[in-house]
């Protein structure tokens, strides 16, 4: 078995992405409490850090923060990370309709899986969380020719969940956020088309 050995990337205190995403209280929390199973220890325990010292350190880190590149976030600014649709149907019917809809949009639909399949013994409730993978191979080939890294967002996926209240919802990842990392306009256009197809497909299924 491979020995666990965390490799540490070069220090990047001024990582603008993280600093942009993290609130002061998160950074302070990390300083004070540390991160379990990492080399980041609790400075509250190890060095008796007070709230004031932690606040000062957060302020110091912020003072070295570079402004976020607004261009890099503008394309998806305001776009949700996830699209959520409420279905007018029960779980089984919603899944059937989604599979039919995907086929109609020329997606090959893979066998459904429960969300936690393969992780161990599942509870009855786990059966109400279903993942449907699908793929439009023409699109896939087009994406992979542009950049093999795009394999990370393929296959396409919809997650269907029946909540405790009996309501059935479909969750779709908004691929535009993942695509933005490729900084390629053509990929962005193709991805927009793909996610629009998926949204239409889901809208038909839940109607």
């Amino acid at each position: 078995m491979a020995k666990r050995d965390r490799e540490v990337s070069p220090p990047a205190l001024a990582n603008k992405g993280f600093l942009y995403a993290a609130e002061d209280q998160i950074i302070k929390h990390i300083i004070m409490k540390g991160i379990k199973d990492t080399e980041m220890m609790s400075f509250e325990k190890e060095f008796n850090f007070t709230d004031q010292i932690a606040d000062d350190l957060v302020a110091y880190i912020r003072s070295h923060q570079q402004p976020i590149d607004t261009v890099s976030i503008s394309k998806v600014e305001g776009e949700p990370l996830v699209f959520v649709y409420e279905s007018a149907h029960d779980l089984g019917t919603t899944i059937d309709r989604l599979r039919d809809s995907a086929s109609a949009y020329n997606f090959r639909v893979y066998p459904s899986r429960t969300l936690f399949e393969g992780l161990g013994e599942l509870s009855a409730n786990d059966e109400k969380q279903v993942v449907i993978h699908s793929c439009n191979f023409k699109n896939m080939q087009k994406f992979l020719k542009l950049d093999p890294g795009l394999g990370v967002i393929l296959l396409c996926r919809a997650t269907v969940i029946e909540g405790d209240d009996g309501k059935v919802k479909i969750y779709l990842e908004n691929y535009m956020h993942a695509i933005e990392r490729f900084n390629n306009d053509q990929i962005s256009i193709n991805a927009k088309e793909l996610i629009n197809s998926m949204k239409e497909m889901v809208e038909e299924a839940v109607w």
Partner: protein
């Protein structure tokens, strides 16, 4: 003493948390063919205390349709209790579960690719849960780097 502690803290913050770029894909090119990389990846996932749940073959279906492609699979992995708790609390995390790594053969090399879990931060709202997301991110980076390091 305080200055030394502050310096140490800054260094550790930089290595543990800030090392992952929020807006970059996690990608490593492994100097090994697909089958060796695949084996190393499965072992390394287990060594990080995750369970490899299932794999999705994508190349099979592509070849079936006469598209030329290299080997292309996705391995899904996770920790049942942790992910169940998180998806129950934050259903919007469910499209990103289980964690996954894409494996693609490219000539004599193999690419292993993952989306940085830290991108899920906006979906959680307590410090404890943010720490969980940070840990996933650290583990994902560590898994990829460790697999690469086995075939230098």
């Amino acid at each position: 003493m305080v200055i030394k502690a502050l310096a140490l803290c800054a260094l550790m913050l930089s290595s543990s948390v800030f090392a992952s770029s929020h807006d970059e894909l996690l990608i490593e090119r492994v100097n090994a063919k697909f089958s060796y990389t695949w084996l190393a990846l499965n072992k390394t996932i287990k060594a990080h205390n995750y369970k490899a749940a299932y794999l999705q073959r994508c190349d099979f279906a592509m070849n079936e349709r006469h598209y030329k492609s290299d080997k292309y699979r996705i391995v899904f992995f996770g920790k049942y209790d942790e992910m169940k708790r998180m998806s129950k609390k934050y259903p919007k995390l469910s499209p990103f579960f289980l964690l996954k790594i894409t494996v693609m053969e490219e000539g004599k090399h193999t690419l292993i690719i993952a989306t940085p879990p830290i991108t899920l931060l906006p979906l959680v709202n307590t410090n404890e849960d943010r720490m969980t997301v940070f840990r996933w991110n650290e583990d994902m980076k560590s898994i990829l780097k460790q697999v690469k390091s086995q075939y230098k």
